[in-house]
Symmetry: C2
Subunit: 279 residues, 2 copies
DNA sequence: GCCATCTCTATACACCATAAGGATATCAGG
DNA sequence: CCTGATATCCTTATGGTGTATAGAGATGGC
């Protein structure tokens, strides 16, 4: 018989996420005073992940940062998976709510996207937290509330908007992932992007003669001018990813605008093209 | 002194990827006949990853499937990282080239996207191969050639098109990732999506009273009707992800269309709005 | 002062990638 | 056929992971 795996654990981890009383807060009884707290552990874990990446996040590493063993953490946190969930929701609190200032929804959406882009690059490990079976913490809902608040101004209905929000978030995550990974690779190997790319191109020419004939479209694509380095301090691939992100976002929002104006010009109040495209 | 990490390894792995002669093919000399080959190992590794996921892909597991120990593989393949690169490029060969049949670029792009969506769900581990420092194998270039060939018909120039392709691919990867992870989670835990979601919603209501007041936009968003189950066989979250993918793709292509027609209607031949949006 | 209760440590287990060394099979030259 | 070189493959070892288990030591209620 299957006991609906993780039911009890799920309750405890939701209680931890939402800081429900009863999450062993003001417990007074026999036994030594706890020297740690869930917050301390989460903070230490975030520090480890920020500094060394998700791959380096181990219970031992977190414990060490707090002067404890790995096992000491298990009195506060049920498992590593739960800890990651807590880290995820905790760090999402950095994102500001609001964006009511901006004039139109497009400006607000762009500003929001830029903010979350910077956030993802600040905490790249966030992108490795799975979105299937989402964490469902308060700060994730706060973020969702913000972006829905912005995009609601398009006049889209709930169903289509839900899909638009999903598409936007996953697009951002996918793009930021590459930028973050490229930064991480450079840091881990010590080889900057340009150097890596240069060496790889040379190898490619060596190993794949007749490249231009075999892949004419790719050859044509690469014939285009390199994008002007707007900012020399950010490394090559990350800059490229950022420009791709901005271009993609613009196209996406163009699509939304087209759908919205099509709906506005159409017969019905808010039905029509939008529903067709986004349903 | 830093010796430009991985220079020698890079040459060998590129030779393996592109099957350059000299990648120890027809070597005749003393020593026992090799019982395995790179291809056999790559095939076995793909089988493992398809069946059990990337997390279960260990050298031991691959060796076991071939009746060898883990260490036996290291005579054929330099390391696990190289093996994953080979797996990645090998499996990409499944994707068909072409799509010259379709009437317009939009139809072709949609068909291509559907194909690669199915491919990603067939081989979800592919989504865990980093796109920073890409693999640069022949089949990845073939895929790129296909999609560039399709989108070139929009009339966009090389620079903007490069960014559009990047945005499209990362959007697809981000979306497919969630769908794949949700499938994986269901398989690993044995709890289907609906059941998980139902239990989690109940817990959420318990642990976060006043949800609707605290997150009014989210509450409104979820008030929308659930999307009609077009296909009962695919599980809930995966279906949702698929619809989000299709909707997002449509919006993205709408944006491209808008940019293209803006450029066409404009003064210059192919400059104008497109360059603005996608530069 | 006893003792239940709690924190925290030590140890152990089953995994992981892979470095090092040795056993064995195979072939070239004598 | 024999010898020496060489390549495949296995065994073993190292240092890592998450976490189960058992126990040491501290604490407060009685």
């Amino acid at each position: 018989m299957v006991v609906f795996a993780g039911q009890g654990d799920a309750r405890r981890s939701m209680a931890l996420l939402w800081r429900t009383p009863g999450a062993q807060d003001t417990r007074t009884g026999p036994g030594p005073k706890p020297a740690l707290s869930v917050d301390m552990i989460v903070d230490a874990a975030i520090a480890v992940a920020d500094a060394e990446g998700m791959a380096a996040l181990s219970m031992r590493a977190v414990g060490e940062r707090l002067g404890r063993t790995a096992m000491a953490l298990y009195t506060y946190v049920p498992s590593k998976a739960e800890l990651v969930d807590l880290m995820y929701d905790h760090v999402l609190a950095e994102l500001p709510a609001g964006h009511e200032r901006e004039a139109g929804w497009r400006e607000a959406a762009t500003a929001w996207a830029e903010e979350i882009w910077a956030f993802y690059l600040r905490h790249p490990w966030v992108l490795q937290v799975s979105q299937a079976r989402p964490v469902l913490g308060p700060n994730e809902y706060a973020m969702l509330d913000t972006v829905v608040g912005i995009l609601r101004r398009t006049g889209l209905e709930a169903g289509p908007l839900r899909r638009l929000v999903g598409a936007l978030i996953h697009f951002m995550r996918g793009m930021a992932r590459t930028a973050a990974e490229s930064r991480q690779a450079a840091a881990a190997t010590g080889v900057p992007d340009e150097e890596w790319w240069f060496a790889r191109s040379a190898l490619l020419a060596e190993v794949a003669p007749g490249f231009a004939e075999r892949f004419p479209m790719v050859a044509w694509l690469e014939s285009g001018p390199a994008s002007p380095p707007e900012d020399q301090s950010t490394p090559y691939l990350e800059r490229e990813a950022r420009q791709t992100f901005q271009a993609g976002l613009a196209v996406l929002l163009d699509g939304v605008e087209a759908a919205v104006s099509r709906a506005g010009a159409g017969a019905g109040a808010s039905a029509g093209g939008v529903a067709e495209r986004l349903q």
